[in-house]
Amino acid sequence: MLEVRGVRKSFGEVEVLRGVDLQVEQGDVVAILGPSGSGKTTLLRCMNFLETASGGELIFDGETFPMSHTSRKDIARLRRKTAFVFQNYNLFRNKTALQNVTEGLIVARKMPKAQALEIGRQALEKVGLSDRCDYYPNQLSGGQQQRVAIARAMATNPEIIYFDEPTSALDPELTGEVLAVMRQLAEEGMTMLVVTHEMNFAKQVSSQVVFMEHGVVAEQGASREFFLHPQQERTKAFLRTLSGEIR
């Protein structure tokens, strides 16, 4: 369904992505792991054109897009099929929870307001926040904000949702509520690409794991295989450093 080939990205002299290949099938939950600074965020941002890659191509539903020079129109079209959940939520600060969810429907997709509100309420209910519709982001806890952000992502009925460390800005006790929502989404068959440091999530929820290091994919495979029989030395070393967290 979604594939990227040879993604490159440099910030000035520094080459952060050095030819990343990645494939996502419909219904996959792909976890992207890797040490800090390996380029995970940058990859995700390039895939949604928040950064312009220096090279590489993106294939979405059989259509190929050159990542360094995709037209604004194509980017807009692609973004309508995808959604992004940010590490720091990025809820619209001047909108209520419900408006955060409906904004993209009413403004970008020209959906009738009544229908958008209906979808918005359903999405918030699904993340357990139907009683917080009229709250502004600053009146919500971090975990609640992130759940609104996930509702906002779901509401547009995307083909894939990108998550960039959705729980790493949260206190441990709030992490669970967000992961539960993501787990539910995964069970419903949503295609997800998740950068995460949550090994339990990667082990239990993801179907595929991609391990990145120094701007390339060092190893990837089915989640089970990846954790049971890592192939690369680097992967083993990485998993060992995290073994404290893995039960």
Binding site: N88, E103, G104
Partner: protein, 220 residues
């Protein structure tokens, strides 16, 4: 204070207050409204990096901020007739005040736009909105809220600056006061009186400002 002063103050109070209400306040209100429109446009073309317009905006801000308001009033009112542009005092004052204030306010709004986290724009684009849609619905409203206190400050400064319009024969409060002084030879009492009326206007504005700020505190 003797009784004569009191009666002079009482007599002149209405005479000064009326041009305040019919001239000073409309001049301020119209000029400031236009200034806000100019400021938003000038700030946005810079924020959005619109190529030629951005240079033009910087040039405008540079010239207006670098020259005295009084000089600008004189150039427009006494100078422009030389090239065939003859403006009545009031429109000339509105033109100068709105252009002048627009330059200052545009810097306030530009700074406020830049203070909106980049993530707001990114999130907006990720839900499918266009750049302009995100600006209009997400970024600009947040920026204007941030800019509200400094803009109120500018408005308060402006209501006092309109006294300069007396120099181009606008019959606003200060000019009327000068005329009464010329008749009565009581500069101390009358200039203090007009000062107090400015103070009254500014006090009302300050109260309105804090009331609005309190209402806006719901988010952010």
């Amino acid at each position: 204070m003797n009784g004569e002063w009191w009666s002079l103050m009482a007599d002149s109070f209405g005479k000064i207050l009326i041009p305040g209400l019919t001239m000073t306040i409309p001049l301020t209100a119209i000029s400031f409204s236009l200034a806000l429109v100019i400021a938003v446009v000038v700030a946005l073309v810079q924020f959005a990096n619109v190529r030629v317009l951005k240079q033009a905006a910087r040039f405008y801000v540079w010239v207006v901020r670098g020259t005295p308001l009084l000089v600008q009033l004189f150039v427009v009112f006494y100078g422009l007739p030389n090239v065939g542009i003859l403006l009545d005092p009031f429109p000339a004052a509105v033109l100068v005040f709105s252009l002048n204030e627009g330059a200052y306010c545009s810097e306030t709004i530009r700074a406020a736009l830049e203070s909106v986290p980049a993530g707001q724009m990114e999130a907006g684009q990720c839900v499918g909105m266009s750049y302009l849609q995100v600006i209009r619905r997400i970024v600009l409203p947040q920026a204007l809220r941030t800019a509200f206190p400094p803009l109120s400050n500018s408005l308060i400064a402006m209501i006092k600056d309109t006294s300069l319009a007396a120099n181009i024969t606008v019959t606003e409060m200060f000019m009327v006061t000068q005329r009464i002084v010329a008749r009565t030879y009581e500069p101390l009492i009358l200039y203090i009186e007009v000062g107090l009326i400015y103070l009254l206007f500014c006090t009302v504005l300050t109260k309105v400002q804090s009331a609005v700020e309190k209402r806006m505190r719901t988010y952010g």
